[in-house]
């Protein structure tokens, strides 16, 4: 008898739980915190300060989403993920979104069942070499040792590119960015390859950055962006439009600090975004001021860029492709109406 009850109970647990999957937005609100996956550390993109708080270009997206949804940009629980753990962590529901320089690819979108909420950084894979080697093109790298971070698209791109160009090489696979950089500095490999932004970030940490050059070849397209699980479109929309709002504000030159003042200004698109016209927040399941808060968190896209990875910082990246479409870049957010 006892046994039968146990089995029935087990069955009920199994059945009951599998039929009810709450929406991510409700989960986040109920939990009071946004669970956000980030990388274990890339200079400028994600790092911990002296007080152990996560900061950087990627955490800034999490903070903006938390501000929009929960009203407080500090209500984020960060989960550092490696190349290996990031997808299972997201798929299993351990985190609500992943903001970790992740390339938007077909198989990740379709086969692994994720939804990319947009692109927050247009990147491409490049090569970093010591200038003393006198190499001017990636095709001259025949016989070299190449440091790669594993679990990324870079190692597939690399294998493909070198195979097509008949370049033989010794891959030196490394789990984390920090170790890859350490190995490159120690001379374990001649070349360090990863996204060009990562290369610039790494080069900025060297004692003599000028002794290293980034080769002209960019061998891949690497659109990096935040992603969420398939199947919860409302949540995907929230993340997507928080990102878009940051980009549009940058396009219109509205800084985070000005968001409050411009809210009743003459620009109708800004009015719609900032909640003084229409009820666009409610359509997302949020309140009226969501976008104002998102912008207040760390400022608009340009401000975030400048604060963590821009030319004024040690990382020193130019906007390049990531400039607005009006200024020669390809950053182009859909209209907000």
């Amino acid at each position: 008898m006892k046994l039968k009850y146990t089995l029935v109970a087990l069955g009920m647990v199994a059945f009951g739980a599998s039929s009810a999957v709450a929406s991510t937005l409700d989960d986040v609100k109920a939990h009071g915190m946004l669970k956000c996956g980030i990388s274990t550390g890339v200079p400028g993109f994600a790092f911990t300060d002296e007080n152990g708080n996560w900061q950087g270009f990627d955490p800034a997206i999490c903070q903006a989403v938390a501000a929009a949804v929960l009203g407080d940009s500090s209500k984020v629980e960060y989960t550092p993920t490696t190349g290996k753990t990031r997808f299972t962590t997201l798929a299993s529901g351990e985190i609500d979104m992943l903001a970790r320089n992740t390339t938007w690819t077909f198989s990740r979108d379709v086969d692994l069942k994720f939804t990319f909420a947009g692109v927050n950084y247009y990147d491409g894979q490049g090569f970093l070499v010591p200038s003393s080697l006198g190499v001017s093109s990636a095709k001259d790298l025949n016989g070299s040792s190449v440091c790669i971070q594993t679990g990324t698209t870079t190692e597939l791109n690399l294998a493909e590119y070198f195979r097509l160009n008949n370049v033989s090489y010794e891959p030196v696979p490394i789990e984390t960015n920090e170790e890859a950089r350490a190995n490159y500095m120690a001379g374990r490999c001649d070349v360090y390859t990863t996204d060009a932004s990562g290369l610039a970030a790494s080069r900025s940490t060297f004692e003599n950055p000028s002794e290293h050059v980034i080769l002209p070849e960019i061998i891949s397209k690497e659109p990096l962006g935040p992603l969420v699980r398939h199947g919860d479109d409302q949540w995907a929309d929230i993340v997507r439009w928080v990102l878009n709002v940051l980009i549009i504000a940058d396009e219109k030159g509205v800084t985070g600090a000005q968001a409050q003042e411009v809210a009743a200004g003459p620009d109708p698109e800004l009015d719609r975004i900032l909640g003084t016209e229409g009820a666009y927040g409610a359509m997302l399941g949020l309140d009226r001021d969501w976008a104002v808060r998102a912008l207040n968190a760390n400022g608009n896209y340009g401000e975030i860029f400048a604060k963590y990875i821009g030319e004024e910082t040690l990382v020193g990246l130019a906007r390049g492709l990531n400039a607005q479409w009006t200024q020669g870049g390809i950053l182009y957010a859909p209209p907000f109406r």
Binding site: V13, A14, A17, S18, A20, V21, A22, M33, T40, G41, V42, P43, F47, T48, E50, N51, G52, E77, Y78, T79, P80, T81, T82, K84, T85, T88, T89, S92, G93, E94, E175, T176, N177, E178, E179, R181, A182, M185, S204, T205, E207, L314
Partner: protein
């Protein structure tokens, strides 16, 4: 008889001479212990050479030319060519507490202090109220859980923020506390007459002992969620603790089984003859004797487990190695990995060395039988 005193006959005992100079004192010791034969001498000289070649540059790098001040790697390098310990100094808090909130760290300290109290009855036999202290030891996990994660009056602290030495100790202590009873049960099950139960125990133990811990941790980090209802996600730290507990339970089961096997059958028969039931004979007769034999082995397993906690850094938890890596991605300090690893190694050496001494002391203390 005439008193014929001849000059060549000694009148008394001659005075004892001191032993030859080369068998006593420092010289004698050196002769006896370092240069007994020519081969011995050669070995000694070679060993001395090795010590000079290896030790001198190491000491030079670690202490003599090291710098203990500076706010960045560059400043460190400006002071000395050797190790840069200023980095460890600046991040010492993180190495100890991980990212535990600054204002809540007293809770970690308190939990650590309370842990020390639980250890008192284990180390000293003659403490007044030893039984009460043991009872308190049983309550400790609950107290520590409450202190560290919070709830009720204390603000909650997310386990993502746990890290550093605190995490190492947490994983180690939790693992051993929960795996001990589990391991004993498994050992008993393995020796049980009930075939199905013993087969299950054997299968479990062999599985655990057959795979590396790192694969089990990968299972915890990437696969365990598949086994629970969709949408339920439980903490990575909890999953790791479960895996670590199961892992060491497998090993403890084998050690305890060794102890059980050493108990002569007569003991069980005598218990049966007295009319004791299974649990009575096990808990009163068999286990006390078996555990006495197994305890040094259990302490050794604990040392192994403590060292194995470093593996959690591979799956992204921030134990001292993980903290070190996260800190190294700070632009100011990049490239100081040797210092980090040496510092962590020192910590483990001190802990494990102390524990292995304790294990040897236990072995001597518990060895109440005849000595050869």
């Amino acid at each position: 008889m005439a008193n014929t005193s001849k000059a060549y006959v000694a009148t008394g005992l001659s005075k004892a001479l001191p032993p030859p100079l080369n068998t006593t004192g420092v010289i004698g010791w050196i002769r006896q212990n370092l240069f007994r034969t020519w081969f011995d001498g050669a070995l000694t000289l070679f060993a001395l050479y090795l010590i000079v070649v290896i030790l001198m540059p190491s000491i030079d790098w670690i202490v003599v030319t090291a710098s203990f001040e500076g706010m960045s790697r560059a400043e460190c390098r400006a002071v000395g060519k050797g190790a840069c310990w200023a980095f460890i100094g600046e991040r010492l808090d993180q190495f100890v507490y991980g990212f535990y909130p600054l204002e809540e760290r007293w809770r970690v300290n308190l939990a650590g202090l309370l842990l020390l109290i639980t250890l008192v009855p284990l180390v000293f036999d003659k403490v007044p109220g030893r039984m009460y202290l043991f009872g308190y030891g049983l309550l400790y996990p609950a107290i520590a859980y409450f202190l560290l994660t919070g709830g009720f009056v204390l603000p909650e602290v997310d386990t993502q923020l746990f890290g550093g030495i605190m995490l190492t100790i947490l994983v180690g202590i939790t693992g051993i506390t929960f795996s001990l009873p589990l391991g004993i049960l498994l050992a008993l099950a393995r020796r049980s007459d009930m075939i199905f139960i013993s087969v299950m125990a054997v299968a479990f133990i062999e599985f655990i002992r057959g795979v590396p811990l790192i694969t089990l941790l990968f299972v915890a980090s990437s696969m365990l969620n598949y086994f629970f209802p969709p949408g339920t996600s439980f903490d990575l730290l909890v999953r790791v603790l479960i895996m670590v507990t199961l892992f060491s339970a497998g090993y403890i089961a084998e050690t305890v089984r060794g102890g059980l096997q050493a108990i002569p059958n007569g003991q069980q028969e005598a218990a049966d003859a007295l009319g004791l039931g299974y649990w009575q004979s096990v808990s009163l007769i068999i286990l006390p004797q078996a555990l006495k034999i197994a305890i040094p082995g259990i302490v050794n397993i604990f040392i192994g487990l403590f060292k194995d906690t470093t593996l959690v850094s591979i799956i992204g938890l921030l134990d001292p190695i993980g903290i070190g890596r996260a800190a190294l991605s700070d632009i100011k300090w990049a490239g100081l990995s040797t210092e980090v690893y040496l510092f962590v190694a020192l910590f483990f050496f001190v802990c494990c060395f102390a524990m292995s001494r304790y294990s040897m002391y236990l072995e001597r203390k518990l060895h109440t039988g005849y000595k050869r």
